[in-house]
Symmetry: D3
Amino acid sequence: MRNNNIRDMWAKGEAVVSAWLSIGNSYTAEIAGWAGYDCVLVDLQHGMTDIQTMIGMLQAISSTPATPIVRVPSCDAPVIMKALDAGAFGIVCPMINSVKEAEAFVAATRYPPLGERSFGPARGLLYGGADYFQHADRSIVRLGMIETLDGLNALDEICAVDGLDGIFVGPNDLGLALGKGTLGDPTDETVREAILRCLASAKAHGKHAGIFCPSSSVAARRSSEGFDFVVPNSEVNLLKSALIAEASGARSIRN
Amino acid sequence: MRNNNIRDMWAKGEAVVSAWLSIGNSYTAEIAGWAGYDCVLVDLQHGMTDIQTMIGMLQAISSTPATPIVRVPSCDAPVIMKALDAGAFGIVCPMINSVKEAEAFVAATRYPPLGERSFGPARGLLYGGADYFQHADRSIVRLGMIETLDGLNALDEICAVDGLDGIFVGPNDLGLALGKGTLGDPTDETVREAILRCLASAKAHGKHAGIFCPSSSVAARRSSEGFDFVVPNSEVNLLKSALIAEASGARSIRN
Amino acid sequence: MRNNNIRDMWAKGEAVVSAWLSIGNSYTAEIAGWAGYDCVLVDLQHGMTDIQTMIGMLQAISSTPATPIVRVPSCDAPVIMKALDAGAFGIVCPMINSVKEAEAFVAATRYPPLGERSFGPARGLLYGGADYFQHADRSIVRLGMIETLDGLNALDEICAVDGLDGIFVGPNDLGLALGKGTLGDPTDETVREAILRCLASAKAHGKHAGIFCPSSSVAARRSSEGFDFVVPNSEVNLLKSALIAEASGARSIRN
Amino acid sequence: MRNNNIRDMWAKGEAVVSAWLSIGNSYTAEIAGWAGYDCVLVDLQHGMTDIQTMIGMLQAISSTPATPIVRVPSCDAPVIMKALDAGAFGIVCPMINSVKEAEAFVAATRYPPLGERSFGPARGLLYGGADYFQHADRSIVRLGMIETLDGLNALDEICAVDGLDGIFVGPNDLGLALGKGTLGDPTDETVREAILRCLASAKAHGKHAGIFCPSSSVAARRSSEGFDFVVPNSEVNLLKSALIAEASGARSIRN
Amino acid sequence: MRNNNIRDMWAKGEAVVSAWLSIGNSYTAEIAGWAGYDCVLVDLQHGMTDIQTMIGMLQAISSTPATPIVRVPSCDAPVIMKALDAGAFGIVCPMINSVKEAEAFVAATRYPPLGERSFGPARGLLYGGADYFQHADRSIVRLGMIETLDGLNALDEICAVDGLDGIFVGPNDLGLALGKGTLGDPTDETVREAILRCLASAKAHGKHAGIFCPSSSVAARRSSEGFDFVVPNSEVNLLKSALIAEASGARSIRN
Amino acid sequence: MRNNNIRDMWAKGEAVVSAWLSIGNSYTAEIAGWAGYDCVLVDLQHGMTDIQTMIGMLQAISSTPATPIVRVPSCDAPVIMKALDAGAFGIVCPMINSVKEAEAFVAATRYPPLGERSFGPARGLLYGGADYFQHADRSIVRLGMIETLDGLNALDEICAVDGLDGIFVGPNDLGLALGKGTLGDPTDETVREAILRCLASAKAHGKHAGIFCPSSSVAARRSSEGFDFVVPNSEVNLLKSALIAEASGARSIRN
């Protein structure tokens, strides 16, 4: 049975640090897997990545110490199942707006009678091992994103959904939803309060709380606040910043 | 007629700052193209990239202000021609060990009677424009790498080869060749001297001199030394460093 | 007009033998097409395959004597239409739980006024021929999967849906749905009875009945029971078994 | 801020001429971008193209003077958002059958509070510029297709939907829906009348009207009728015709 | 045993008409295969195509009546063998400058003892049939390109090489080599004479003569001159012309 | 430091059992890696695979217990270096005909001063570890193929080449070279004697001897003869046989 670093970290009471991949490429995925993260997330929603590319990325991550997970584009059962069949050990599902959606999300990740996942674990059998079917239900991590007004309004009910491991906050979308713009580390009081309410609700229901952060320092702060799944920016933002800085630096002392 | 930023910068007496792409991906190539570099190099030699992927990367770079160029895997005429047909406006050719190789390299980039390039400019016509054939010879930049003992020994003769725009120093391979290990910014005196000899020889023959650097600060220093084509590290090294730093930083103040 | 082997076999009163492709690759698809199957199915649901890869696989199968068909990931009209536009001459649709879904499935495969398929047959015109539009409706085969409790409960009504050619039994999912685990050739009496009920219902409504089997011997037995569309395992299971056996065999008499 | 040729042409009172890409290939996309069209549409619905291929095509189009747009396979919000994140500056959405669908389409293209688009503009930031978020709402063009009886019946209400820039007529599907077959330039009076009704309704509501045409001469005629977004056939039809003509011509005077 | 249309046409005393593919895409390859050509050539030299893409294109062509052939980038034995293993039934080899090169080209296409081809016919076995090894030597067609001064000078000796089926003239490169520019249908007397000398030499040695033409009318004329393998332009040139014409035509009668 | 199973097995005095991949696909590569082989070889020579596909396959194999190795298409230094940079821990080089070629092969795999490999280990650093440069020379395994008359004639000298780990026999090509046809397990005495001569020469020079076999039983026999690197057929042959057998079996008892 293949372990899931996310559950291992949580069992030790530690926060998970996840990489976030927007570039659809196996080599960068493998690099991220060796960079010290507990898990590496392939972003199918906003990443420049589709399903075939994701499969190669999951393979690449599987060759590293990190656990491969996927953010799906929406709460669409066939895509969730495909990501799991391809060996994802965790799913982050965007725009969970209601208990019904949260339940549908969880059901798509569980075989009957617990859920409605269709059988055919393909690459899951390679990564998860021959006993995949026995342990898949407890190996797979499910995080639902709270990032809309509807989601906020249904927060407590969503956090109570059985089988959901936790929630994940998208500060940009949450800020937009609250009419306060897109800031990775929101300064507006309404947004800040909403984020902390997400954290509190998750904790109150014995669930985990994750959040996307614009930097490692914000991630560390979120971790100290109680978030136990933090993402210190995406690899594409890191690359963009580094490339711009080096181009500029190379010209800086020319004369 | 499409301009070549490299020639424009040189005409202004300024050093070219080039990005260096080891990741075989069009999205990262496009990001590099917008990051402030004069040109962006697709590395077919050590990059995790092949020809089909290179074509997409050249297209992506063509949508940005940067000029697309290619490092080919070796002085192999069909590959050099393919890169040019695909729209590369410059070629960096590794392991030039002799005048004969330098001349073969140049010949592969020029149509008869100046050289032996076969006609069929494909995407070159899109990027270069309908007048591609008229201006290709003066648009394309040719840099031969000096990175072996043979290359060093033939340095002056290589620098004298007609049609070669300049040389490009690979400090790692040069260090290895001199038995002094692989350091991006060599500290060994033998290697440092050899690098400066490359620069001096290029200048003496009215040619340009480029060099791969491990950082923008070294690139800036090389530029001040007289190198007029500098590469402040590859995008993959920048990404790797940033990912490691962020993973570590996210855990740093957890308790 | 391109013939459909499935309809030809049925017209002769014979069972169709279909290959089943979980590997997203055109070369293996072509191999399957030459291996003696009446049709070759590209599995978009659990296969490690997406739409772009499927197109190449359908092309490869089209170069062989076998008829190309597709299992779609779900009853999602745009994907069904895409598979048809790409030249699939049959669709297997998973998880048909109700008459409404069966009807929606059929409608997605038929042009108005019979259904709701959008016009734009792309590669279908190449494989199907210039008269594709005239014969598509009777060329295309539609099989709905019965693999859930809801599906079983609505079995007779589903079998009665006009335009549906038949049903296809997924023993693994059906076993799971009945709480009896995943066995390719179920031994549990409840599951066995459910499978035979599917067969009987299809026959009673003049429809065809297909089933996925774990081996050719089970497929042959199913064929003798009356199933007229049998799949003797997937290519990936066959490959896996063969590779394991050869690795083991190569070591067996070493000392 | 990156301009949108479509809006520029409309501002000048001129009809937009769009290329239409059914071939999933970046090189042909780039060729189309240089061929004199105001915009180039990547057809995800009937084209032999999926999302990963689309991204490369949008990059290729971005290297040309043409504005890149996408026809999505259906009114599915995650796919619409993905196309926008990948840098599409316009969306053509098929089979708009009701006000509700038209509104859902528009909502998927607008950030809150105007709509429900999720934040993460990825390649949109490269193509659209750093100010993408500020201008995306007015840069992006939204055309809903009228091609079903339901769509025709709801025509006026659909044309009144706020945020919808206009409608786009698919003559083939409309002909099919009206029981009059698939003609690119319909001769049947019912279909012709329906098409002109679409045009009139769009104009009456201050919206734009587009139409797919089987040739440039029909496109020019449609433009003179008042359509201000015309497509003179797809690239695949043009290629097919040219290839057939040349094969035939090469044999024509052999003896 | 799979027939080769090229040999069949030649056996009937007719000229072969070949399509020429510069776009690296399986869909366009399949379209070409159905367009009426005897064979379809995948251009690895100047086409925007590499080996992996070529394999899919050969598969697509194999699903049509046309025979698949390949122009390799150069006389490089491993690439020639790869194209043959992938199922090419003919090779056009560029820049044959000497008898030695012509012999090396032929040797790379023949198994020992006739040549030096390595055994491993992969997809060749699928396309060519189980008896591939028995008939490959007489199925495969070998055409060497005469397009340089060296090639012209060695013309008669090259035409005499055993196993070479004929020569293929590249008018653009030949014109360049003769210092007369690149014209698809050369008007310069020196180039015209050189082309006819190629034809005469091939005939004198009982070999076939092919030529690339800028249009079907030139191809028909070349055929009447005695060339028995003619190419009426590439698909990319046809597409480009058609796209430009339609864009222009759509605007032509706007006011 | 990453271990190399090949060297580990040899150190224990055991024969290495290698899988052989002709299908260009990461999923099948990963399956092979879990099937019990010590190493998995990606065949760039006769496999339907190119360099970009190889990279994904090497990543997939790296996620399994097997060591990834590559057969290159020929003794071409840039391709050998690319395979190593991509993380191959062994190279099988075909058609070694002379000491000179054997030395060139070895030199391409070793950094100066031992050889001529260019520095830039890319993915090698991920798979091999941060200490890759230190241990690459002793980690990488080099096997030269003896499969031509020239190779046989130079057998002893080739086996004596320093840095070459051993030779690998291709029975098909060897049989062809000796004029005895292509048999995976040759019965002709001349070929059998030549194979055993290869084994004896390797042993006499303290080198390893490998051989491609048509089945696991032959592989086991070769192992007992003294070959310490055996390949029990390719995955494509296994798949083909299994598919044919199952198609046939499914029809066997139909009536």
